[in-house]
């Protein structure tokens, strides 16, 4: 029996993971999300902004990170439009504007009064080096120079939303939804460190530990880490999104992985005790 488990074919592990993810999604298992303090600071900040404040969202991700970062974007847009804030989006990733278009399309249908060019705008993608520092430096000095035309290929300066927005310095907060570089470090180094602009971040779970240092030093005023961060924001905003639905699946997948690790370590200890060095 021990030999069988010890040499378990990885396809059994794959099946276990597939079931632990699929079954909670099929049976719609939802679990209450505990409050995340890093998420709550951003929620409280947006909640307490006066209506009409400008929120800049940088869509620095592509479809590979969509399951984790897209629910964040959708929850943030719900919150912003509900509080009558204006949203400006741009991207340091080539696929970012398409992700932004999709997020806007999903949220705007719930807010018929919201208009493109007046309440929100998708400025598009700005190309530059991988660090993102140059791009963010241009956004901080004159955003119209970076985006003379928006994603619809119309002159950006003619939109009413742009009348009070010349650079990132005019934004109440800049939120980078980032799957890697270029992304959050560029906004922290340039927008926050140099210009004192409020910066918040939504990042994938795998990269979240790196950004706790920024959050704890006050360089990030909010941090949404992975699907858990997105689900926490959804529960604050009271939006039943994909993140809350996905947390059931993630919970069971984590449990399965923990059980597998406990089993494998149990066998390891039994083997070690009986001095049969089969593990190499």
């Amino acid at each position: 029996m021990l030999d069988f488990i010890e040499n378990l074919d990885r396809r059994y592990v794959f099946v276990l993971i597939a079931l632990s993810v699929a079954l909670p999604l099929i049976f719609k298992v939802t679990l209450p999300m505990p409050d995340d303090p890093q998420v709550k600071t951003l929620y409280d900040y947006i909640e307490n902004l006066k209506p009409g404040s400008q929120i800049a969202i940088s869509f620095d991700y592509d479809p590979s990170s969509e399951p984790e970062l897209h629910p964040m974007a959708i929850a943030l847009l719900h919150h912003a439009f509900r509080k009558k804030h204006k949203v400006l989006s741009f991207a340091l990733y080539p696929a970012g504007p398409s992700m932004a278009n999709d997020a806007f399309a999903k949220v705007v249908k719930h807010f018929p009064e919201v208009e493109y060019g007046k309440d929100y705008i998708n400025l598009g993608f700005y190309y530059g080096p991988n660090t993102g520092l140059n791009q963010v430096a241009v956004f901080c000095s004159d955003i119209l120079r970076a985006f003379p035309k928006d994603e619809k290929k119309k002159v950006t300066g003619t939109y009413p939303i742009m009348s009070g927005f010349r650079s990132l310095k005019d934004a109440a907060v800049v939120i980078s939804l980032s799957a890697g570089d270029p992304g959050v470090p560029a906004y922290v180094s340039e927008a926050n460190a140099k210009h004192g602009i409020n910066v918040a971040a939504g990042v994938t779970a795998v990269s979240a530990p790196r950004f706790y240092a920024y959050y704890n030093s006050g360089q990030l005023m909010g941090l949404l880490g992975g699907l858990g961060g997105a689900a926490s924001y959804e529960s604050f905003v009271k939006v039943k999104g994909k993140a809350l639905a996905g947390m059931g699946a993630q919970s069971f997948a984590h449990l399965v992985i923990i059980l597998l690790i406990i089993i494998s370590n149990g066998i390891y200890l039994i083997r070690k005790r009986s001095e049969e060095p089969r593990w190499s």
């Binding site: 794959f14 993971i17 999300m33 947390m247 059931g248 992985i257």
Partner: protein, 296 residues
């Protein structure tokens, strides 16, 4: 001079950017902005060079029919198709397509989005229609006999091939598939390799256990369950001790791990890397490092 001029350009560009970071000055800010623009333009050239190199490698592989050359064919065809679709229509661009009146009425009644009516103004000059803006059309000097209005109906369409087919039906599912495969391989690797073989490995294992449970809602249920078993035992062993029941202790302990040991480690790595970057940049700035200029 072949080396001195690039070194001088490097020195002055770096000087401007550093001074701009520490001194608030309009001239410096403009110079820094111009340098940032140049960097973006140069990076675009690098992108073109990268694409040319990518094509060179894959054409060569197809030409010589090296191992897995079929994948190179897919890459080249996929790239050519995407580029063509983008050049012809543009990504995410919306196209106004004229629609007939009956279709307009049907779409309007159905509440179909992005359907609109537009009035176009014409001036009749020698029997010919010349399209003009509303401002010109409304000039008093132009008599009514020279004015003509036409109504057009439009529906906005996105480009199907790029927006729906390439991005929505190919790129998005492929990207999501690649990322979700990680879960399977991570689970398999954790089962095979995540062992408490040494003290650091055990610490990592214990931290992973708490973080994995603490970051998901089921952690609260597991906490409650453990509390149900452990609290009476703990009370029996330490009857005088004050034990606070809380089903969030996995979450709180995970928060402690992320905020204290993790932050400390991340800071050490980041500060170390930043100091190394400062040293390397300083060498390039003052001309001690010349590798980027080539070997000639």
């Amino acid at each position: 001079m072949k080396r001195e001029i690039p070194l001088l350009i490097t020195f002055f560009s770096c000087l401007v950017l550093i001074l701009d970071f520490v001194i608030k000055n309009e001239v410096l800010a403009r110079l820094a902005a111009a340098i940032n623009d140049y960097v973006s333009i140069l990076a675009t050239f690098a992108l073109v060079l990268g694409l040319a190199s990518l094509f060179g490698v894959h054409f060569n592989r197809i030409y010589k029919k090296r191992e897995n050359w079929g994948f190179s064919v897919v890459l080249v065809l996929g790239f050519a198709f995407s580029l063509l679709a983008y050049c012809l229509y543009g990504v995410e661009k919306e196209y106004e397509v004229p629609i007939p009146l009956d279709r307009y009425e049907v779409l309007s009644k159905a509440g179909e989005a992005q359907v609109r009516e537009e009035t176009v103004h014409y001036l009749l000059v020698d029997g010919r229609e010349i399209r003009v803006g509303q401002e010109i059309f409304e000039l008093d000097a132009i008599g009514p006999e020279h004015k003509k209005k036409k109504v057009f109906y439009y529906q906005v369409h996105s480009n199907y091939w790029f927006d729906t087919f390439i991005f929505g039906n190919v790129f998005t599912p492929l990207g999501a598939t690649m990322f979700s495969l990680l879960a399977f391989f991570m689970a398999s690797a954790a089962f095979r390799a995540f062992r408490a073989k040494s003290i650091p490995a055990t610490l990592l294992l214990v931290s992973a256990f708490f973080v994995m449970l603490g970051r998901v809602p089921i952690g609260a249920f597991v906490g409650q369950w453990l509390e149900f078993i452990l609290l009476p035992i703990a009370t029996l062993i330490f009857p005088e001790a004050w034990i606070s029941p809380s089903n969030q202790w996995f979450s709180e302990f995970a928060g402690f791990i992320m905020n204290v040991p993790n932050t400390a480690g991340q800071r050490a790595i980041m500060i170390g890397a930043a100091l190394g970057m400062v040293a390397a940049s300083l060498r390039i700035w003052i001309g001690l490092e010349k590798e980027h200029l080539g070997r000639d």
